[in-house]
């Protein structure tokens, strides 16, 4: 170990970061087993064991949250996950360097916009009170669609926004993986008479398969972690029934309504499920002969 001390020294800042910002705060999970009162603090609050977990699993809300979270996660996996792969395959086929670079830059842009801005933009376009899309629909003789309040539209809208914001950014890793493919493979395939499509299918895709698998595992690990901000911004009292997910529920019960312990219990449940999912997905990947994430 001493021999490689410089290397260890180099990981030190990262390790300290994780220790301070990721592991130390976990001590706060203790309040999930307490009836936490801010004024009494950690030491003074009453210990209640698994009461909050019992409440979570016995309330109807739990199944609503689970259903909504899983549905949206599945939809994202189904529709949003493949988009960057397809996009990077397409970009890879572009031969004109300038055009390729411009497209890449433009599709990265949405990633740097915050959800607040994106949701506001969509709001202006989708509202039935003079939103441009509904104006077009009405001009074409259709009935205006309440994209923003109709529960049926929440999930499609959510997934579209995810794709719009992150698909471009997601291509970075795939494009990087694609550059490592030996160009001789393409040349010999071309000699054998393979067209563009066949080259992409038989050379590019298999070459980036490990990358896809790693990202898939990471995705599955976060299956219940949709992130709070986006959903919080698109949800309102009319689509809450399909929009309420664990993250927004934790926020509403914990921060807004002040049930800190219960919210911590919900969050902890979500974290544990996430951990189990990562381990399972990783095992599965190894079984199929892939490398996995660890």
């Amino acid at each position: 170990m001493w021999r490689r001390r410089t290397l260890y020294l180099m990981i030190l800042p990262g390790a300290v970061y994780f220790l301070i910002f990721k592991y130390l705060p976990m001590g706060g999970l203790a309040i999930a087993f307490q009836d936490y009162r801010p004024f009494l603090g950690f030491s003074g609050s009453e210990w209640v064991g698994f009461d909050h977990f019992v409440r979570l699993f016995t309330e109807d809300t739990f199944f609503l949250l689970l259903r909504n979270t899983l549905t949206i996660s599945f939809l994202l996996l189904l529709f949003a996950f493949p988009v960057p792969i397809i996009l990077s395959l397409l970009i890879n086929e572009v031969r004109l360097r300038f055009f390729k670079r411009s497209v890449q830059t433009i599709i990265y842009l949405p990633h740097f916009m915050s959800w607040v801005i994106i949701v506001s933009l969509f709001y202006v376009m989708l509202t039935t009170d003079g939103g441009s899309i509904n104006n077009v629909i009405e001009a074409a003789g259709g009935e205006p669609i309440s994209f923003l309040t109709d529960p049926a539209w929440l999930r499609p809208m959510y997934v579209m926004q995810e794709i719009w914001r992150n698909a471009g950014w997601g291509t970075i890793i795939y494009l990087a993986a694609i550059t490592t493919v030996d160009t001789q493979l393409y040349e010999s395939a071309a000699i054998d008479g393979a067209g563009r499509l066949r080259q992409a299918w038989h050379i590019t895709l298999p070459a980036i398969r490990p990358t896809i698998i790693v990202l898939l595992i990471l995705n599955i690990g976060d299956f219940l972690e949709l992130g709070f901000e986006h959903m919080f911004l698109v949800m309102n009292s009319l689509n809450r029934e399909v929009g309420e997910i664990f993250d927004t529920y934790v926020y509403n019960t914990g921060i807004v309504n002040g049930q800190f312990s219960y919210a911590a219990a919900v969050g902890m449940f979500k974290g544990i499920v996430g951990l189990i999912l990562v381990v399972l997905a990783n095992r599965l990947a190894r079984r199929f002969g892939e490398e996995g994430v660890y």
């Binding site: 009162r37 003079g130 309040t149 995810e162 309102n236 009292s237």
Partner: protein, 503 residues
């Protein structure tokens, strides 16, 4: 894909943001070391879109006057609750906390558990604080104890604002009954009141908080109580369960169906609502009567040629229901200025902080926070009438402070802007018709712990009904179901406390 990065970061970031405003006051608030408090950290709610710059002119002037270094921690009104809750949870409170939402469950629990100083015994030591009326003090108490300095407001500020120029265009009279108001609303939606030949106007221009603000006030005209009311059986019940409330809902829903309310008001944020009003999208606003001036100024900024003119109405009535107006200030009590025990540790320090609040009640700081600095933001004419010199400058530098005034009632300035004087006059008239919440000073443990959740569900059901997602039967079913979630318990506890208090 977003999820390459750990998405917990997003959540954490949101939390950090929520906490940032609260946590930043740690340096300089003394924490009890050394005698005297030279710096007062103050979490204050701001109702304007922007916060004033640190050490700006007004802040400096206030520091000079009070002799204290002030560290403002501005909290936007829209998420005041969550910031205060997270500050309470993490115990990162400043010296002085502005608590505006008196029904916030976490705040009430924190108070009754002793997170804040009891201040009543200190008040008599101060010139201005000792002048707070006993009724206001009484209505500010929880379980008979005063946990903060009550903010003094007019008894009831709400009313109905109607576009006078639109009424004139259509040849309609100013409505004073709900029946007439209904006609006006429909005419505004259908008869092109702005005369531009386009179907681009509506009657009511409401927003997201309809259930809490606009509609609630309208339901008051129908006879619904101020959040709670005592029914014939002597029970203290929430007003959203009453027949008057439901009748008002049916009426409002009818208007909505006729297009006389903006279509997606349940998602509309305050600033967007204001923008719509400035742009002349709607002609009826149920809001504070003091707002007419701002609407007019905003309308003028949006279109210098606007004909915008507002009729201020404070005597709306419905059928044979006597004139009444629900208080929007808890009966003249706009919340508390509370002093946390964790940051202010000794009684002497409490006195210092209270002395600071007391000095803000003097006329000079009140003028500073209302009008600004003379000859820089406003001027007095010979009759003492105030005119604002530069509206934009005033909005940026002065207006944010107006909600930080411990009292709105120190001086009433005659204004060059007629809406201001008229608004003040009408709000004063409101006082004798104000309907108060009979449960405000009553105690219910279940209320303190469950109310936020229950009210949220009632609010959701209201929104769903208005948008046509559910019908009245389903609304009633939702409300009935709340009984099992603690509402029955709350009614029982309040009724018991009410009987006790009223013999």
């Amino acid at each position: 894909m977003r999820r390459i990065h750990h998405p917990a970061i997003a959540g954490t970031a949101a939390l950090t943001l929520a906490l940032a405003a609260c946590g930043s006051g740690d340096d300089g608030d003394g924490g009890g070391e050394g005698a005297g408090k030279d710096t007062i950290s103050w979490m204050s709610v701001v109702h304007t879109p922007t916060t004033p710059e640190t050490d700006g002119v007004i802040e400096s002037a206030l520091q000079d006057y009070t002799g204290k270094e002030i560290e403002f921690q501005w909290v936007p009104a829209a998420n005041a609750d969550e910031k205060i809750n997270s500050a309470l949870a993490s115990d990162s409170l400043p010296d002085l906390v502005d608590l505006g939402n008196i029904t916030n469950t976490t705040v009430r629990q924190a108070m009754t558990q002793g997170q804040f100083w009891e201040v009543e015994e200190f008040l008599s030591e101060f010139d201005n604080l000792s002048q707070i009326s006993p009724e206001t003090i009484e209505s500010a108490k929880i379980n008979g104890t005063l946990y903060g300095v009550p903010k003094q407001k007019p008894m009831a500020r709400y009313g109905v604002l109607v576009r006078q120029d639109w009424l004139d265009n259509l040849g309609l009279d100013v409505p004073h009954t709900i029946e007439d108001l209904t006609e006006v609303a429909i005419a505004f939606a259908e008869d092109d009141p702005d005369g531009n030949g386009e179907d681009d106007t509506t009657g009511f221009y409401d927003r997201e908080e309809s259930f809490q603000l606009g509609f609630r006030s309208l339901a008051g005209y129908f006879g619904a109580g101020q959040r709670f009311e005592v029914n014939d059986a002597g029970e203290v019940i929430p007003s959203f369960t009453t027949d008057a409330w439901k009748e008002a809902m049916e009426w409002y829903r009818g208007l909505y169906e006729k297009g006389a309310i903006n279509k997606e008001f349940v998602t509309l944020q305050k600033q967007n609502q204001y923008d719509g009003i400035y742009q002349g999208k709607g002609g009826i606003v149920v809001t504070g009567l003091f707002e007419a001036r701002g609407f007019y100024e905003g309308g003028l900024a949006a279109d210098p040629d606007t004909t915008m003119d507002w009729a201020l109405i404070n005597d709306m009535t419905y059928e044979d229901v006597p004139r009444r107006i629900l208080t929007d200030t808890n009966g003249g009590m706009g919340g508390w200025y509370a002093i946390p025990r964790s940051t202010v540790e000794t009684e002497d320090e409490v006195r210092e902080v209270l002395g600071f609040v007391d000095s803000l009640l003097d006329e000079e700081p009140f003028t500073l926070m209302t009008n600004g600095i003379e000859d820089e933001h406003f001027e007095f004419d010979d009759d003492g009438v105030v005119s604002i010199l530069d509206q934009t400058k005033w909005e940026q530098e002065v207006q944010p402070f107006s909600s930080s005034r411990p009292s709105d009632l120190v001086i009433t300035f005659p204004s060059a802007q007629p809406y201001v004087d008229l608004g003040n006059e009408l709000m004063e008239e409101n006082a004798e018709h104000a309907v108060l919440n009979p449960a405000q000073s009553l105690t219910s443990e279940t209320f303190d712990s469950r109310w936020s959740v229950i009210e949220q569900q009632a609010n959701d059901a209201y929104n769903q009904y208005m948008m046509g997602q559910i019908d009245m039967e389903q609304y009633e079913a939702t409300i009935d179901a709340l009984g099992g979630e603690g509402l029955d318990q709350i009614v029982a506890e309040f009724t018991e406390a009410y009987d006790e208090a009223n013999g």
